[in-house]
């Protein structure tokens, strides 16, 4: 019967009662409780079910290492599965339900598995469920998935927010125990910037629970003083509820701060992800107590000795009236003493060691506690809670000597330093035989950007278990870190620590040492994943000898605690089974994060409107207000069409095409790239960039150009205008602006750095509008200003001037085949200019149009579109664009590549126009099959469609495509896939479907 003690509980405030719910039951706790201590105070021993056998599970630890006690926490937009009760601070109204059982926690049908446990050993699923074949997907797998999985999936969108924060510090100390505090203080006194994190909301770690003394005063007081001192220092950042989650290359550290988990109604971000750059990192992360492997060590009520002590001292909670302590080291005696001091009974301390216990044992005996040396637990009795233990000789095979009634068992198999953060970035470990632990190998620390070591472990995390040694190590590490960070450590000694002497540990990996299979099958290593001693031994027997194989085969250490309690015990059993030393077996890789961190925190502020930038042109507001159906183009949003009420998107597109061809259309072309290239070598440079000859272009003229990469493939196109003798303005595609700008800078900086050329990306300086259609000139003349007559500005010419009072640069270019002017004005006046065109255009039937209309009109004219006719594997020659490739030039980017055998082959697919015989539209992406199959049984192909539309102008389907030897096959009829297994016949024709002679654009 676990309950709240009338006295004790250094962390709880009994003046502040708190109400919460577990599985619908109303319960009481106090401010300062964790959900774990509160549940135990309410005698809730059974808190969950295990992963595989659905065994009853109780709380086994008191911190982040807890493998069992995971709950569904909260409701609606604040629901969260798999919350560890030991790290969940209690708050008023907390709502939690237990996981992985049906129908209820007390009665779980899945628990049937425990009776079949014998038939479900490690890796059983690799050996069965193979027949009949379809059963895996339809029967076996659904069952396995359903019974696995722990917590429920959230149903609603997360109602909380998150944020990131960049932090820079000279020395980062991770861990707020006495080692961390001493190290932080030492480092801070050097004047360097120091940051210290503690994952819980209370400082001091174990020392304050175990009653150590520092500088002659109780650890508790020393901790309070030190925290206060640090808080008062300008150069110190000190944070509780903040975990060092991961250490990455070059001193990058993730800090995980939980801001409102303990007060969910408070405003502001729930979590803050700190992205830290630390010159030196000290991991003072303490150690984790190891369970002992004896039969029934997973029954609720069996708990880590130190955890049991924590509940009594920190939260004034007793796990049971009668607690049997079982250990292989002296530390567990502290638990026995603490319990007796709290007025509870300890029937016996079962010490596996034959001798070697130190003064703590004498102290225990002095308190009248019975101590049994050389003994072990053969078996724990009980089902959903402990009822007693059967005692045996540790050296034997489990013959029961005596049974002791008890309702709790405190176990201690020794301590494992928390080396995760040390190891994340490559820090290596050594096996410490005397203390039976892996600890950091200072000679093989993680190295940084200059090859220097940048992580040091301190205190218990560095293998020092005694207070004095912890403090000395911490201060020494801090001094070293300060030096390494370029500071000057202050002279002075470490605080003096004192605690009880301790006898040596003697490693116990199995209890009793000769336990037969019946007991080994009940001795748990991984409580959550149900991995037992017998499973690891089976893995070894079947040849899974690498620690990684054994882990993956048995799932040892793959649970949500990532093996914090089970890994060392497991690999000791494996080593024993393989008759090799533990270091020879080695550990599995430690990967971030130390304990799981929320996806929300990782995403940070990037959600909803801030998920990704949306680039907006100066006219974007008008588009939004006027039915624009947007399509993303890069990070831009461009209107696909402007849909009017009662119209479908398709209707709108058809209307826009017809109107532009008949009257007047406006296109927001602001997103087109505009690169200014200037310098005495600008012409020479563009001759290399483009396949065309640009150096011969006359000022005032425009030329359409193609760009290829060094692999010969077409990457961009656009109109180049020569501004003056050494200045060009290069238009790129919408997606191309940044890419091509970078591409040009690359060549100028890294290849032709002696050429005198400057490039600036002026894309967003201008709002650009394409004024298109038979009435284009009329509307400009109405607005007044510069002369836009054919005589003044002919096709493929540009001119600066004023239009309707706006400073404008006018390009006489056309991507539609109509009379067309592309007019650039300063972006700050783009919207006003757009409005002016709309107003003046009214009498000429003006209508804005979107990208789909643009695509159709260019397809009707047989103009290619980068991204449609090209896909990164197409060269200009494939598109019959030899006319745009200068023969006079020795070189241009891509020229050499285009000379390679496969590129020059006459068998390449080339661009043609396509007309369906029945006038229908060939589906997007359709392929043209050829007779026969290839060597792999695939249907031969002879071409594919690249652009295909219904042309409202011609009232029929038109398309362009790449066809084998296409241009030589004019008039041929070939078939294209319709996607439903049928085919559509199409005739190979010229790719220009509309105004072949260009009369309309050249007026």
């Amino acid at each position: 019967m676990s309950t709240r003690l009338s006295n004790g509980g250094r962390l709880v405030n009994k003046a502040k009662p708190v109400e919460f719910q577990f599985n619908g039951k109303r319960m009481k706790g106090y401010e300062g409780d964790t959900l774990a201590s509160a549940l135990l105070a309410n005698d809730q021993m059974l808190v969950g079910r295990s992963f595989k056998y659905h065994r009853p599970r109780g709380i086994v630890a008191s911190g982040g290492e807890e493998p069992n006690a995971l709950v569904n926490l909260g409701q609606g937009g604040k629901f969260e599965p798999n919350q560890r009760v030991t790290t969940t601070e209690l708050f008023d109204g907390l709502y939690a339900t237990s996981q992985n059982h049906w129908p209820s926690l007390e009665f779980d049908v899945g628990a049937i598995n425990t009776h079949f446990a014998r038939f479900l050993p490690a890796g059983f699923y690799y050996k069965m469920f193979m027949f009949p074949r379809p059963f895996w997907k339809h029967v076996y797998e659904p069952f396995i998935r359903q019974s696995a999985g722990l917590g429920k999936a959230p149903k609603e969108r997360d109602s909380d927010t998150y944020e990131h924060f960049y932090h820079f510090t000279d020395v980062l100390v991770i861990g707020g125990g006495i080692a961390g505090l001493a190290a932080a203080l030492e480092a801070a006194q050097s004047g360097l910037k120091v940051t210290i994190f503690e994952q819980t909301h209370h400082w001091g770690g174990r020392a304050v629970v175990d009653g150590a003394e520092i500088d002659g005063k109780p650890a508790d007081d020393w901790v309070k003083d030190t925290v206060q001192t640090l808080e008062g220092m300008e150069n110190v950042t000190i944070r509780a509820r903040t975990m060092g989650a991961g250490v990455y290359d070059h001193g990058y550290v993730l800090g995980y701060e939980r801001l409102t988990d303990h007060c969910p109604d408070q405003d502001g971000p729930r979590h803050r992800l700190w992205r830290i750059r630390a010159t030196q990192i000290i991991t003072a992360t303490g150690a984790i107590e190891r369970p002992l492997s004896f039969a029934g060590n997973d029954i609720p009520g069996v708990m880590l000795a130190a955890a049991l002590r924590d509940y009594v001292v920190n939260w004034g909670v007793s796990i049971g009236d009668r607690t049997v302590v079982v250990t292989n080291n002296d530390d567990a005696y502290r638990t026995a003493i603490a319990l007796v001091d709290a007025g509870l009974s300890v029937p016996a301390i079962i010490d596996a060691r034959t001798d070697g216990a130190g003064p703590l044992a004498d102290a225990a005996r002095a308190k009248g506690i019975r101590v049994e040396m050389g003994k072990g637990i053969a078996k724990v009795k009980g089902g959903k809670r402990v009822e007693g233990v059967a005692i045996c000789l540790q050296a034997g095979e489990g013959a029961v000597i005596e049974e002791i009634k008890c309702d709790a068992v405190a176990m201690s198999g020794g301590w494992s330093p928390v080396v995760h953060l040390w190891s994340h970035c490559g820090g290596k470990l050594i096996w410490d035989e005397a203390q039976a632990m892996f600890r950091p190998d200072p000679s093989r620390a993680p190295t940084g950007d200059k090859g220097q070591p940048f992580v040091a472990a301190a205190g218990t995390a560095n293998g020092n278990l005694r207070t004095a040694a912890v403090l000395e190590d911490a201060v020494a590490q801090a001094k070293a870190a300060v030096k390494a960070a370029g500071g000057k450590p202050k002279a002075g000694k470490a605080p003096a620590g004192s605690d009880a002497e301790e006898g040596a540990i003697s490693p116990v990996w199995l209890m009793p040492q000769g336990a037969p299979i019946q007991l080994r099958m009940k001795s748990w290593l991984d409580f959550q994943n149900d991995v037992k001693v017998s499973d690891v031994q089976l893995a070894a027997r079947e040849g899974f000898e690498s620690v990684e194989h054994a882990k993956r085969y048995t799932t040892l250490g793959m649970a949500t605690d990532q093996g914090k309690l089970s890994n060392i015990n497991g690999l000791a059993i494996l080593s024993d089974a393989l008759d090799q030393a533990i270091p020879q077996t080695g550990t599995t890789t430690f990967r971030p994060p130390y304990t799981p961190i929320s996806m929300g925190a990782i995403g940070g502020e990037a959600r909803d409107e801030l998920f990704q930038p949306i680039r907006k042109t100066p006219m974007h507001g008008w588009h939004e207000a006027n039915g624009a159906d947007f399509e993303p183009v890069g990070h831009w949003r461009r209107p696909y069409a402007f849909v009017r009420s009662g119209e479908s998107v398709h209707d709108a597109v058809m209307r826009e095409v017809k109107n532009t061809r008949r009257n007047l259309g406006l296109l927001d072309a602001s997103t087109l790239g505009k690169l200014i290239v200037k310098g005495p070598d600008a012409g020479k440079f563009l001759d290399m960039m483009y396949t065309n000859m640009m150096s011969t272009l006359k000022p005032g003229k425009c030329r359409y150009g193609l760009m290829c990469n060094e692999n010969g493939f077409l990457i961009d196109d656009g109109v180049v205008a020569r501004i003056d003798e050494d200045t060009f303005l290069c238009h790129t595609t919408t997606g191309g602006a940044e890419r091509i700008h970078a591409w040009m800078e690359d060549w100028l900086q890294c290849e032709w750095w002696d050429w005198k050329v400057y490039v600036t990306n002026a894309t967003e300086q201008f709002a650009q509008v394409a004024v298109v259609g038979p009435n284009a000139r009329k509307v400009l003349e109405k607005l007044g200003g510069m002369d836009v007559s054919k005589e003044s500005i002919a096709f493929m010419e540009w001119k600066d001037g004023q239009i309707g009072g706006f400073n404008a640069r006018v390009y006489r270019i056309s991507f539609s085949g109509e009379l067309s002017y592309e007019i650039a004005v300063p972006a700050s006046q783009g919207r006003a200019f757009w409005d002016a065109l709309l107003a003046a255009g009214e009498e000429f039937g003006v209508m804005p149009y979107g990208t789909e209309c643009l695509h159709i009109m260019r397809a009707e004219k047989g103009f290619i579109m980068i991204g449609d006719e090209t896909d990164g594997t197409v060269i200009p020659q494939d598109l019959n664009m030899e006319w745009a490739i200068s023969k006079k030039k020795e070189d241009y980017l891509g020229k050499r590549a285009q000379e390679r055998s496969y590129m020059a082959s006459p068998d390449r697919w080339k661009l043609v126009g396509l007309e369906t015989l029945d006038g229908s539209v060939i589906p997007d992406g359709a392929y043209a099959p050829a007779p026969g199959d290839n060597a792999n049984g695939q249907r031969n192909v002879q071409g594919r469609v690249t652009s295909t539309y219904f042309s409202p102008t011609l009232g029929r389907g038109i398309a362009m495509g790449l066809v084998h030897k296409g241009p030589d096959r004019m008039g041929d009829v070939i078939e294209f896939t319709k996607g439903d297994g049928t085919f559509v016949k199409a005739k190979i024709v010229d790719q220009v479907f509309y105004d072949k002679d260009g009369e309309k654009q050249n007026v």
């Binding site: 070059h250 190295t447 950007d449 090859g451 060094e710 690359d746 290849e751 050499r896 590549a897």
Partner: protein
């Protein structure tokens, strides 16, 4: 998450300010080169486990390209230098020699 120091503007900052640009000191082969030369230039990259010379651009910064020497096995940077050169500066080569005696990379050592 690497830290780089741009030799052009002096900023020392994290990787996200930069853009990696592949192998450094490539000799361009254009028209007139053999198929082998051209294939080598375009595709045959150094991919050593160890010293590597590479291009970076300070894209979210001064916009300049620069070169770096890095150990692909430890991610240690031996140094950064401007892109306008055909071979690594001696001081960087010396630094590498100190760590990897007898190293070589293409024609450099």
């Amino acid at each position: 998450m690497l830290i780089l120091e741009c030799p052009c503007c002096g900023v020392k900052s994290e990787e996200t300010e930069f853009h990696a640009g592949g192998e450094a000191h490539l000799k361009r082969f254009g028209p007139g080169s053999t198929d082998a030369e051209f294939e080598g230039y375009l595709f045959m990259r150094e991919n050593k486990r160890g010293v590597h010379f590479e291009r970076w651009r300070h894209v979210n910064g001064c916009g300049k390209w620069f070169l770096a020497a890095r150990d692909t096995n430890t991610l240690e940077f031996f140094g950064f230098y401007p892109a306008q050169t055909h071979e690594p500066p001696q001081d960087i080569k010396d630094k590498i020699s100190a760590k990897h005696p007898g190293w070589s990379w293409r024609e450099f050592q």
